[in-house]
């Protein structure tokens, strides 16, 4: 399979540097800077999983921690990891990935026959049945258990080692998007001991997928400059690939840093992951926002994606996940996606706006690109 959806324009990917990986046993190629999700989309993969109860097919809808569907088993043997989101897995040479549900495979799943009985299985149906005869419950349970779970836990001892650091700082900044970066810079310039952590592989947050400019400078180069300044301070610790996972009493936070996962190797010296137990005097949460999915019938089928994710795949990774697009929105932001999609040389069929008269600056800027800003779809 070739990278049919690959563009030549990804700001943070290098299309000349090819990376081989496998998905459900199939050989595929991505490029340096890809996540597993962007590489799968580049290869035209639509179905990445099956839903838990009815085995409905599921596609990628997000581009980060919010992704609900693209849950993968990564690696094999003792070093396998269950339940990683493809949107958060950095691609490396030889990466092995597999969908966690679907039998015999994710595209044709026999379990989906449970969908036919869906009406018999409302939420909590198991409380109302499987009670008689009493002695059969353990048998029922055996089959219920088999149907549950996502990926598989490893069965061999973990080959890697882990460590932890007890950290102390004046200011902890969680999130290295524009807000977090500037906050960290100001604190650092004032002489404070600063730690700035971000779950992604590189700092910049939303700016990594932005084609806008800041202070007359491309957003991504503004980020590069700011990160370089932060790294020049001896009183600043920068922690990429580091997820803050808990905020405990008296400003104690846990941060997990993934040190070698993106290399796809077991660390022969040092640790695979490091726990930072941070005691901060002040904490700045600059974690940004997730786009909220719109609610409509069938919004879970493959091909439905968040507008911000579409833009991110185009601008950051150089992947246009499809050919023809309909945008459904309640605000101005999606119009940027329409412009991005159009720039990628793909067709925007319509923008469906729930507002009667959208009028923002960006709304008008898309006209002339072959779609009207308030197309109505026929409900039949």
């Amino acid at each position: 399979m070739s990278q049919i959806n690959r563009l030549n324009t990804g700001a943070r990917t290098d299309s000349t540097s090819r990376i081989n990986f496998t998905y459900n046993g199939k050989q595929m190629q991505g490029v340096a800077g890809d996540t597993l999700a962007s590489a799968l989309l580049a290869n035209g993969v639509n179905v990445v999983g099956r839903s838990f109860k009815y085995s409905r097919p599921r596609g990628i809808v997000g581009h980060g921690a919010e992704e609900p569907n693209a849950i993968m088993q990564i690696g094999s043997g003792a070093a396998t990891v269950p339940n990683l989101r493809a949107t958060q897995v950095e691609l490396y040479e030889g990466l092995e990935s597999a969908s966690v549900n679907g039998w015999p495979n994710v595209n044709f799943d026999l379990m989906s026959i449970t969908g036919w009985f869906g009406r018999m299985m409302p939420p909590g149906f198991y409380y109302k049945t499987f009670m008689y005869p009493a002695k059969l419950w353990m048998t029922y349970e055996h089959f219920i258990r088999k149907a549950a779970g996502l990926g598989s836990a490893p069965v061999q001892d973990d080959p890697d080692s882990y460590d932890k650091l007890n950290q102390h700082c004046d200011v902890l900044v969680v999130g290295a998007g524009p807000a977090g970066l500037v906050a960290a810079r100001e604190a650092a310039r004032a002489g404070a001991r600063v730690i700035i952590a971000d779950e992604q592989s590189e700092f910049g947050g939303s700016l990594l997928a932005s084609i806008n400019s800041i202070d007359g400078q491309a957003a991504t180069s503004w980020v590069d400059e700011l990160v370089a300044e932060l790294e020049s301070f001896s009183n600043v610790q920068t922690l990429p690939r580091s997820t803050a996972f808990g905020y405990y009493d008296h400003n104690f936070l846990g941060i997990l840093q993934r040190r070698t996962d993106h290399l796809g190797i077991s660390a022969d010296s040092g640790s695979r992951q490091r726990l930072h137990r941070v005691r901060a005097k002040r904490v700045i949460l600059a974690t940004g926002a997730f786009e909220r999915p719109l609610v409509f019938a069938q919004n879970d089928i493959p091909g439905v994606m968040q507008a911000s994710s579409v833009s991110t795949y185009i601008n950051r990774y150089g992947v246009a996940p499809g050919n023809r697009m309909i945008l459904f929105t309640t605000n101005d932001n999606a119009y940027q996606t329409a412009i991005d999609w159009h720039r990628a040389g793909r067709a925007v069929v319509a923008v469906v706006d729930s507002r009667s008269a959208p009028s923002g600056e960006i709304v008008g800027s898309g006209t002339g690109n072959g779609y009207s800003s308030n197309s109505r779809l026929r409900s039949d």
Binding site: V81, K128, W137, L150, G151, A153, P154, D157, D249
Partner: protein, 416 residues
Amino acid sequence: MKKYSGFSLFKNALSYHENWQKLWRSPKPKDYYDVIVVGGGGHGLATAYYLAKVHGITKVAVIEKGYLGGGNTARNTTIIRSNYLWDEAAQLYELSLKLWEGLSQELNYNVMFSQRGVLNLGHNLQDMRDIERRVNANRLNGIDGEVVTPERVKEIAPLINISKDCRYPILGASWQPRGGTARHDAVAWGYARGADALGVDLIQETEVIGIRRKNGSVVGVETTQGFIGTRKVACVTAGNSGVVAAMAGLRLPVESRPLQALVSEPVKPCLDTVVMSNAVHGYISQSDKGDLVIGAGVDGYNGYGQRGSFHVIEHTLQAICELFPAFSRVRMNRQWGGVVDTCPDACPIISKTSVDGLYFNCGWGTGGFKATPGSGYVFADTVANDHPHPLAAAFNVDRFNTGALIDEHGAAGVAH
């Protein structure tokens, strides 16, 4: 109450599940009840259910400040077993286990009681001596149990590490095959539905803020919905027992502590039993949804925060990885705490008090869930007759003045 069955599921599917009977009513509080149960968790709801079912006392209200089963019932690791050391405790928990065995059918509500067995590991010679003593005591009480070898442990839980070359090598275990887990929410909901059907008023989002007394006897409770009269108040407010006791001018020998638990992301079945270890301070099972459900010891100090300290779960996960080295790559999904009230002897209080008509069922520490049916059964009996049920007599609060403590620290699973 309309019965649940495969047929009722089918019938309701035809009407798109829009005609199911509500599990329980949401009544306005009456002016007077024969008994008011304070606290709508598993124990409180079970108490109300057995008051109505066994003793015919149906003019009962359960008053809950939050929602039914929203406290420790929904926050525990759902382990059920009865292998306690002392006769008094073992018999109480065994009554409970027997009730568990028929509970889904009794309540016509599947509480998913799964008798997958419970292992209590021993890591040194003293542990093994304690295990042998406890198993022998259990068998004298007619409770199933056996001492098993590390090899047998490995058969029951294949991913466990029985190598001698680790900090806490497994030397053996006690094994109670009838133990297991249940679905915690279902227990509360099943009892609530059963009690409601018998006429009990379940009053949610109503907090008891005072206990009115006259001449040393209870005459009613003050609530956020006003005064409600009664001659009997049965307090089942785990975690907050000290606070409720203070409303009646009483002190209890309990201290409230956070107890934490956490679950992993769901994985395919890999652990079909419950594994507990006192020495390394952790216990683990896998839910029917696939989550690894892991519990810790109580936090080291009094607290009413439903969260707890990070280093406690850190310590517990070290223990779990020590027992199951393969699990170190499985990621944890959620972490939470519940507030338990702990007694100095790690046994509960099921008791009348010095205030006439005021009863307490508290102090279950880390092990209340498993006792839910038995606790409700004997407490209902104690309240109905104003006299301790034979199995509850030893758990009178007087024991802290007479000295007749029942020291279950060894069998209680984790330190409290």
